[in-house]
């Protein structure tokens, strides 16, 4: 099952083979959860939203025409779920999330001590750094937050983001530019040692 393409798994699901959909869930659950965690900054809401996203995908699977990739369509549903969630939560209280992979070797070294130096203190300070970065993301408006997360956490190209959000590419680029400027100002204010 794991070596089958998304398209084959979709066809099998539509024929009633639910194991095929289980495989799609396994394949994408971490990415969807990570996206929603970074957007909501709340693991519990992200979990609930992720569940809702996959159920929505399942319910709408027959409407998926394949004009964009399954991944793009899935992300569109996930970002729409986030927008809907955001609109319902007029004031948001931040529940801090604890990254699951802090200190994993081979990760980016920004905000984390060089490899081999994961003392409890350094992990704590890297967690603080992560919290500050996350808070800076939280401070952005919802559109800016979404483009920043898709571009710099999901590593999507602007064209792909434009397909997910159904915005013109130029809009994606201009919002990314403004979002990065806001992030820079925020991080400069919040993060000691921002300027290298």
């Amino acid at each position: 099952m794991a070596d089958k393409s998304d398209e084959i798994l979709i066809q099998q699901t539509l024929k009633g083979e639910l194991e095929a959909f289980d495989e799609l869930v396994r394949r994408y659950q971490d990415r969807v959860f990570n996206l929603l965690c970074r957007l909501c900054h709340n693991e519990h809401d992200a979990e609930d939203l992720a569940q809702g996203v996959f159920i929505k995908v399942y319910d709408s699977l027959s409407e998926f025409r394949g004009s964009s990739g399954f991944y793009t369509w899935l992300y569109r549903i996930a970002t729409n779920a986030y927008y809907s969630h955001f609109r319902h939560s007029k004031t948001r209280k931040v529940i801090k999330t604890v990254p699951l992979e802090v200190g994993a070797r081979g990760e980016s070294s920004v905000g984390v001590p060089p490899s081999g130096e994961f003392s409890p203190d350094s992990i704590a300070s890297s967690r603080e750094t992560f919290e500050i970065i996350q808070e800076a993301i939280d401070s952005l408006s919802e559109d800016y937050r979404v483009v920043v997360v898709l571009r710099h956490i999901e590593q999507m190209e602007c064209q792909h983001i434009a397909e997910v959000l159904e915005w013109p590419v130029g809009t994606v680029k201009s919002r990314l530019h403004r979002a990065r400027n806001e992030l820079k100002a925020k991080l400069r204010e919040m993060l000691p040692g921002f300027e290298l």
Binding site: L14, G16, L18, F21, D22, V25, R26, Q29, D30, V32, F33, N34, H44, D45, A46, E47, D48, L49, A50, Q51, G52, F54, I55, D59, S60, S62, H85, H88, S89, K90, T91, K93, P99, L100, E101, V102, E107, S108, S109, V110, G111, V112, T129, F130, I133, A136, V148, H152, I153, Q155, K173, L176, H177, R180, K184, L187, R188, L191, E195, L196
Partner: protein, 295 residues
């Protein structure tokens, strides 16, 4: 002005290559220290966001999705519009024939079944074909008494809680003027002579088995509860005062334990009090009263 232009061009460069003219312009601007500083700031901001660790989905997520889709059955297969059009025309024609052939009350009740409406028999409280067995009032229950039991303990604690009116529920489809009903998106009271939209057909009166959830303050708890209730397919509504949410939800009997479990697992909600009002026949909990406080 120069720094803004440098930022703009540098930002473009982060997302893709510049053309030769823009590249030359940026190179010239970068001779200025302020422009270099701002451009480096953009790189640094992007780099920091990219450094955030990846979050892994909780192990129970896949299981919860699997369970839900298995309960639900096969995904919906959408039909082309013209197919739906023919189906609708066929149903309309069939209804017209039935209407012409039988003008007695029995004929009318047939029409209702053919149209797929989910209605209760008003005399006995029994369920028509297609009615969700888990989500409606149990025969023999005294709805007024049940609703009164549900409301009483909490109104003293939440002075601004809305007045949820008790009422008899012998015929939920015949909306009674002045009564309070709960629909998929709203809680509404019917006024004299008011015409109701099809959406209201699926509304349930507050004397059906329901969960009344009181959450003291906090939009997080409110949002969380919405999410929990939506996930179990509950019909719910909430009202908001300055410092509190009051949720009223109609939850399927077989989902009650899931609601409790999810609330207990949530960090933003704390289950303070729980009271089951059992069904007189099976002793299965049909009604649950929860009181929640923010943690």
């Amino acid at each position: 002005m120069n720094t803004e232009r440098a930022e703009e061009l540098h930002s473009q460069k982060i997302d893709g290559p510049l053309n030769a003219e823009e590249e030359a312009e940026l190179e010239a601007l970068m001779k200025d220290a302020d422009c270099r500083r701002e451009a480096a700031g953009l790189d640094r901001a992007a780099e920091l966001v990219e450094s955030l660790p990846k979050m892994k989905a909780p192990p129970e997520l896949a299981g919860a999705i699997q369970q839900q889709i298995r309960e639900q059955g096969s995904p919906n297969i959408s039909q082309p519009n013209w197919v739906l059009g023919w189906i609708a025309a066929g149903i309309a024609a069939l209804l017209a024939i039935v209407l012409l052939a039988s003008r007695d009350p029995a004929g009318s009740s047939k029409q209702t079944e053919l149209a797929g409406h989910e209605k209760k028999n008003s005399a006995t409280g029994s369920k028509s074909k297609g009615q969700n067995e888990d989500s409606i009032a149990q025969p023999g229950e005294d709805p007024d008494n049940m609703a009164a039991q549900l409301r009483e303990p909490f109104h003293a604690d939440i002075p601004n809680a809305p007045n949820v009116e008790a009422h008899s529920n012998t015929s939920p489809r015949r909306f009674e003027s002045g009564r309070l009903y709960i629909g998929p998106r709203s809680q509404f009271r019917v006024n004299e002579g008011e015409s109701l939209s099809p959406e209201h057909e699926n509304s349930q009166s507050l004397s059906d088995p329901h969960v009344e959830i009181l959450a003291k303050s906090g939009s997080v708890s409110g949002v969380k509860l919405q999410s929990i209730l939506a996930n179990v397919g509950a019909t719910f509504t909430y009202s908001r005062t300055e410092d509190s949410f009051t949720f009223v939800a109609v939850v399927s009997r077989n989902k009650v334990s899931e609601v409790v479990e999810r609330i207990e697992r949530s960090e933003s909600l704390e289950l303070k009090k729980r009271r089951h009002i059992p069904n007189g026949k099976s002793r299965t909990p049909t009604t649950l009263v929860l009181r929640l406080n923010l943690r």
